[in-house]
Symmetry: D2
Subunit: 148 residues, 4 copies
């Protein structure tokens, strides 16, 4: 596998997404089939202010985005997620989170990517994977269709 797009292009994909901007997601490094993405800590992302726990949906969002853009590196365009699995392992220490995502299989129509999320002390907070629809929708004028 060899990345079909460069860091600037995949960052532009990420930045034009309103929810990613709200989360503060930043792609910091890419390889042929992987990337690293960071997310800053903020109170609005918590499920419990007392326990300082990040909402499970926020961690799922980080995994979905990190895996989705890793898949985009391989596909050359953004890809819609078919399904997402998220495993929660440990409460994060308050501070920026980092996801590392990599494509483990790119088939003719489907791409599978997995990610690990670590807190600022390096603890594994969550992990997961997506299956994405990787075939380009040529007949939609370049628009990416919903998954099914």
């Amino acid at each position: 596998m060899k990345a079909k797009i460069d860091l600037e292009t995949v960052r532009a994909f990420c930045d034009r997404c309103p929810f990613n901007r709200w989360l503060g997601l930043t792609i910091v490094e890419i390889g042929d089939n992987w990337l690293r993405m960071t997310m800053p800590w903020k109170t609005d992302l918590l499920s419990s202010p007392e326990l300082q726990l990040v909402h499970g949906g926020v961690l799922a969002s980080l995994i979905d985005s990190a895996c989705g853009y890793a898949a985009a590196l391989v596909a050359g365009h953004t890809v819609p997620t078919v399904d997402l699995v998220t495993d929660y392992h440990k409460a994060a220490v308050p501070g920026p989170l980092e996801a590392r995502a990599e494509v483990i299989r790119a088939g003719r129509s489907l791409i599978t990517a997995r990610a690990e999320v670590r807190d600022c002390e390096g603890n594994l907070v969550a992990s997961g994977r997506i299956v994405a629809f990787g075939a380009r929708a040529n007949n939609l004028g370049g628009k990416v269709p919903p998954p099914a």
Copy 2:
């Protein structure tokens, strides 16, 4: 199964969560082991402004919250999610989304709940399930611990 908490109590659980407040999640109806929850449409929730697609992580968040509070009805307290599966079926028509979640199994330590998300025209947009840790953490002074 018989709900151990009432609508007012489970709503209070939901409302004290900053990310749920930001999403605008509202529990509108409960039964013994199920609930209905709504989420308003807003631009910040989109992954693509052109295609008006809700971010996959937002739908995962809605499923996690709906299932988590359905599990809370049965457990009598909030429960940490162990893992979350989200399936994406169709792009939503712009407008409020509704999740219906139900507990399908409550064991001694784990609770499984599933949910369906529909758009304002009744289309099935996403579905999923959580496994949650249902045992109360008595030795933590009522605080709910992270999953593992």
Copy 3:
């Protein structure tokens, strides 16, 4: 949704599969988008002879087959599984197991079906779902291709 094949046809799909025959899977009833399938108890299916626990892989196989043939009803042909999720709820009482599977979404290319497995006393033993590739592979002379 309306079943495109009849009971005899879907049974023939199931019966020509060697592993299904070894498991003893039998489709006992179908509807437009659902079916019921039974599996007899036998010692070779256990993970623990002392505890009389059915192997998790056997329950996953039952869910995969039940969901797969439910999807075949809707597709009109057999479909390869893209991914499979299985949740384990309770040890089965020794005796025949029954799975009920239903298609919850059939899109242009992907089909999602879910199933519940109950033991001979009606206890929920396991549940799960598959995503299957539903598009027929016309260019393969009617052969069903691997998922990706």
Copy 4:
């Protein structure tokens, strides 16, 4: 993480399981938190004799067993699976399959392990993960209870 049991002990766990014996599963190598397991090819494991496709449930069984015994290395005893996710990537070339499983997180009560399955040419055929209940059931006289 440091393996609490040796190769002979974990092999004995695997071999006393009737379904594993029928599948022909063999643990060939272990590390502190990982193992390699092989499964021979045989006709009874196929879903399609014409296409020589291994049944999805068989691959799920291999992943469940490989991950489960990897978790047993860390726990020091066998562990019941809470849930299992299997992704199917490619049809296997006929011949023995090999799974490599590793524990990625061992918490106080839950263990997460993932596995990759490759065919005799090294192709990635399937991947997946389990969450298992890792706490020993002391009050059951050493018997491992069902998951919930």
